[in-house]
Amino acid sequence: MKSSKPDRREFLQGLGTASISAATFLLPSSLSGRGIDNDPILAGRPLVRYPEKTDLILLTSRPPQLETPMRYLGSVITPNEAFYVRYHIPPPTSVDLNTWRLKIAGNVREPLSFSMDDLRGKFSSRRVLAVNQCSGNSRGRFSPRVFGGQWGDGAMGNAAWTGVPLRDILDRAGLKDGSLQVTFNGLDEPTLPTTPDFVKSLTVDHIMNESDILVAYEMNDKPLPMLNGFPARLVVPGWYATYWVKNLAEITVLDHEFMGFWMQKAYRIPDTPGANIPPGTQPLRTVPINRMDVRSFIITPNQGDRVKAKRPAVIKGMVFDGGSGISDVVISTDAGKSWRSSRLGQDMGNYSFREWSIEWTPPSPGSYRLMARATNRIGQSQPLEPLWNPAGFMRNVVEHVDVRAD
């Protein structure tokens, strides 16, 4: 049974501007901590505190898009209260576990309905560390710019997800012959009946061959925040977050391809190497976005930091890919002329953030461009020039930080 729709009165209140409640939620970004004031895309954005969340960078209020300040991404685990938020349509605001059920229906031998007690009690659980990254993370950096959520780099996070392997749930219901795809529908609902509901699909092949795809009911060993999917969400390790449907309510098995808007029209990438096409052009053919490309970030030092010439300093950051695991992260301190291997931190699993660090001594006073480039275990690396596609997806260019040594 679905929960109550977002309260109409709350919605109408949400249209009001300059209200007192808005002031309590907005904080000047100069209180933010490092990074935000240096980032041209984030300049002027307020910090806001949404329910169960700490201060996050506001991209949009309604439906909410809240970005994680980069300082949280220096740790392998992103705390639940700092995890970014993204909804296409209004999230649920009320869920009662007494009445919430996860319904399994469609091309199955036995349609089923599970309560939270059922999910916890009737199945073995699995715990996976996995990066959740928005398909459009870093879209604000595209050149030429594209319409869409104008994220900086903070639409991502890493957490330990605990839940039931999806394939065990489907085995319990029993897939009938001809089962091809499975759709996932959450409690979020469009404001208007003419807006397509947010529903995503995965293939049966993908699901049944991946024991780490979970119906997760815990995030970092706690119940999910509402805005990250309470009471349960899909976790698709290695794939972009669009598939990680939140506030799950219905899982439906199909014997045909799902034709919904959010698979057929939205979230499509060019069918080209690296999903890259010449800037300003349109793709000939598209496919649904799928596995993440490899990315690394420099967390320390920050853009514009001052360091001491002839003194050792540490450059560190993190790296992740779509599940093959990281082979190395090489660092340049001379704008790409030469590269040295960094030391990789603990391997927390193929789907997790992994730390890297390297010691460096600036040889003399002056400006230095620091760069980090990762390669994964199947030989995929980051391009030196950014890719481009019309939707602003999958950015993974080699990142740089400019510092000054005195």
């Binding site: 501007t17 209020s61 104008q150």
Partner: protein
């Protein structure tokens, strides 16, 4: 009597708090739209507020890159055809014109 009512009030409050901690019901209240993401003044502003505000806050517009009139027209069309935006034919041009002027750039 007054002391009795007060004690009853305290007990009820404690029970309510205890029940809230054990309750399996999660309820959140979302804050109001960002009052700082004000749309620029210009012809068509009221139409934009009325037609677009039904589904999303103004920061969806204010945060966008400044694009050409052609790009903005395409975006308004997309809101209607893809997302079912309640924009009457008479308003479509007004909204596209407003966006191209307030959030536009020179060029094609």
């Amino acid at each position: 009597m007054k002391a009795g009512l007060t004690m009853a009030g305290i007990i009820l409050t404690c029970l309510a708090m205890f029940a809230a901690d054990l309750s399996p019901k999660k309820v959140i209240k979302l804050p109001a739209d960002n009052s700082m993401a004000e749309l620029k003044v210009g012809p068509g502003l009221k139409t934009v507020q009325a037609d677009c505000g039904v589904c999303h806050s103004t920061d969806y517009i204010v945060r966008q890159p400044h694009k050409s009139a052609k790009d903005w027209q395409a975006e308004v069309t997309r809101m209607i055809t893809a997302f079912g935006a309640p924009i009457p034919k008479t308003d479509e041009g007004i909204i596209a014109q407003y966006l191209a002027t307030a959030y536009g750039r020179d060029g094609k």
